[in-house]
Symmetry: D2
Subunit: 265 residues, 4 copies
């Protein structure tokens, strides 16, 4: 079971243009600061936040209590010109969890309902469960894109990869987020090595580029992401002979699982 929190700035759209449109630099600074802050605060308890649409964010929050959520909500109220609402849900897959969480939020009213403020609710139950995250990157993006094509062309290519990945992962009820550079993170509980390989094959056929992924399985988003990073380093360091390296936290699962015995840790 993965636990997902859907975070939404309350009545944000109307605020950005009241009484007049606010300066875009300020809005961008404000939104990125919120994203930063949420990552620092949730991160203190092992959570990980994705910026998504900036006014609607998705966080992996396994093991994080309602009380911690409440403190974060209060901290935003105390330091920002707006408030946030949050709904938490758990499910077998990330897609299902965020869907349940969104539904709970929607039941309280519209995102632009000025009376709906600081919702904090749980769709079903808080869980410890586990988190599976794939950290994906494009092979040799610096040599083949960044140093060769224009900044925008590379950016466009990364966006093509991103959208295709989103659609492919969705088939497995997994989510996919861009985390900068040529890197993506896919919360993907329940997927196995073959699933990832199939996705990368499809991308390769359509876009003619190679992807690789470290996959981490841990009791928190932080742990899973960290293991995924280590797996990716294994591949980059050519200590693995394929493009996937799945690592589990042995304290948690009572084993170090090296899929295909290929991850050379």
């Amino acid at each position: 079971m993965i636990q997902i929190t859907v975070i939404q700035i309350d009545n944000y759209g109307p605020w950005t243009v009241t009484p007049n449109p606010r300066r875009e630099n300020d809005l961008q600074a404000l939104q990125s600061r919120l994203y930063e802050d949420l990552n620092l605060m949730f991160g203190m308890y092992g959570g990980l936040v994705f910026y998504t649409r900036f006014d609607n964010l998705i966080a992996i929050t396994n093991g994080i209590s309602l009380e911690v959520h409440k403190k974060i909500q209060e901290s935003v109220r105390n330091r920002y010109p707006f408030t946030i609402s949050m709904a938490i849900a758990s499910a077998e897959t990330p897609y299902e969890a965020q869907k349940l969480a969104t539904k709970t939020l929607q039941e309280y009213g519209s995102a632009q309902d000025s009376n709906r403020r600081e919702v904090l609710d749980v769709a079903n139950e808080l869980v410890n469960g586990y988190v599976q995250i794939a950290h994906i990157d494009i092979n040799n993006v610096t040599g083949t894109f960044t140093d060769v094509y224009s900044a925008y062309d590379t950016y466009l290519k990364v966006n093509e990869v991103k959208l295709l990945l989103m659609k492919e992962f969705l088939k497995y009820e997994a989510l996919l987020f861009f985390i900068g550079g040529d890197n993506f993170m896919a919360p993907s509980n329940g997927m196995n090595e073959e699933d990832y390989i199939k996705i990368f094959d499809n991308i390769n056929k359509k876009l003619n580029l190679d992807l690789k992924a470290g996959v981490g399985i841990g009791k928190s988003a932080e742990e899973a992401a960290n293991l995924a990073d280590i797996g990716l380093e294994e591949i980059r360091g050519k200590r693995v002979d394929k493009n996937i390296c799945i690592l589990k936290n042995d304290k948690f699962f009572k084993e170090v699982l090296r899929k295909g015995k290929s991850c050379g840790l």
Copy 2:
């Protein structure tokens, strides 16, 4: 002529995994903080920065001197664990300007060359020129998506729109960036009303949703973005009977241009 600055964190990829992969929360916080800071600093001189790939950012910098760029570069060096390189270029179209800027940067070495640090160069010339920005949003996204579909489904839809918009705008050598919610900004010097309408028609046919745009033309990114915002408000307030409202800064162009006399200012 639009002036574009391409910003690149020096040798960032290797740094993120040295000596071990750094905690993802920290990297996300760091990247979004840089984006925020750059927007605040360039914004003090009317510039506007887009986060693009977070380690490679694109800014509109008409009227901003090399000296100001240098101060910003130094401020990043003084406050971050890394440095940044920047190249500036001007051209008739945003695409061409960023291409020239990227080329200049690439001539100094790879983004992952540890000897290439704090490049600051100008591809051709610094200009005042003018900036044209379209601020685009999706009609009634809150009612038809945010309040109805799951957070991730809405996010996916927004990404579909984004990629299509990127490809459409590129035909006109214009750029397209996501700025949060259901909002996009397209630096699009040289495009006219019909061009925008054609793009929106194409999107409508493919994705069955309606877009609208305020377009601002000013002497800085800030001014253009502000006029674009006002234009968008004109459409939202139904004071315009179409989906495009182009506004020029009269002090700059010695006129308030109301395309088709439709923008009710």
Copy 3:
């Protein structure tokens, strides 16, 4: 027992002038950002940080584990151009605790020893214990100072009060920090109502102004500070007939202690 963490930027002085003196704006921005970040991060676990000398900070960290300290230390390393060292100690009084912590830090080498990096050590033991904090302000500072005297004269007066308070509190092995406006916080485990009154009388005789304080006793700095705030509000709201209101957390101490039955909660 109060737990104190002494935080020190490693080799900061030399860094600020290498290779040339760094821009003062950047240093001020950097230092205040660190202070902010540390407060957000320690705050997620009930800690409270005082800016002290900005390159040397003092935090109350009852109940905060070595692991959390380590994560914060790592987060600073990942996002700042410098690293920090930390030593933790517990004692009956705040002064004694910070003294033990400092001593531990000093044993690792000079603050300006370039080889001493990222010390993290515990002088004696980590404790839960309890925290007693007085939140002190100057009666009617807005009416008698801010709105009457110049900004700097008021500032000078506040600094006079501060230094006197520091010396007075030190007699009880308590610490005293300025927290903005006309507000001070004194970690002051072990002091009783009469002690505070005596201090305020001394200040009154010397500076001819009246002080008041809410005092909170809780299991964390956050809880103590919150109770102190509530106590201060009780006095401000004239629901208490003296200038001191001490509140204890009943869940922790199994009682609500209302000193002199004067705190009208």
Copy 4:
């Protein structure tokens, strides 16, 4: 003539306790963020901000227009849960300038008048003028204090030095601010070498420690602070045989003035 801006958070005190006292961590984070932001924004135009009481700040703003002030005021409104008021004044001495600025602010109403919001006014006139700043530090503070005494004892000593310096400088209508570590900055237009020496002698007699200062004279706070830093490095590097080194910007004053020919630049 030095130009000073007095900045005040509107009605901040009441806000911090409405409807209940807000979490101290959040307030500290918020205040230090504001200080950081103001330094970054004013700094883009050569200004320098001192945190003073955090809710009342003093900035040196020579050469900074009303328009830039307005943009900063607006940026705070767009990103913070409160607004700020500002008054600007110029005078021969920093003390006089801040006094005039404060008076202008006070004429608009109390700092805690909920109807007084976003004042922005000029007491007399905006000037370019010049800024004189002394950057003072304590000789060998690391060896004699930081590495020997407890963190709090050193902090107390620094506060003693600070208060004495404030009082001494006030005799010359100069201001004095703590900027971290053992460093102080004194905006001190009009003072000469002998004045500084006299102050340091007085401090030495009372506190038995030695001070030194680089003094910079430039057309902006940034330039003056930078020259002061360089002067201080000259003394630290023993390229000067006294404890004062005054440097003027030659482009501005058409000369490099080396007081007593001692500053080895």
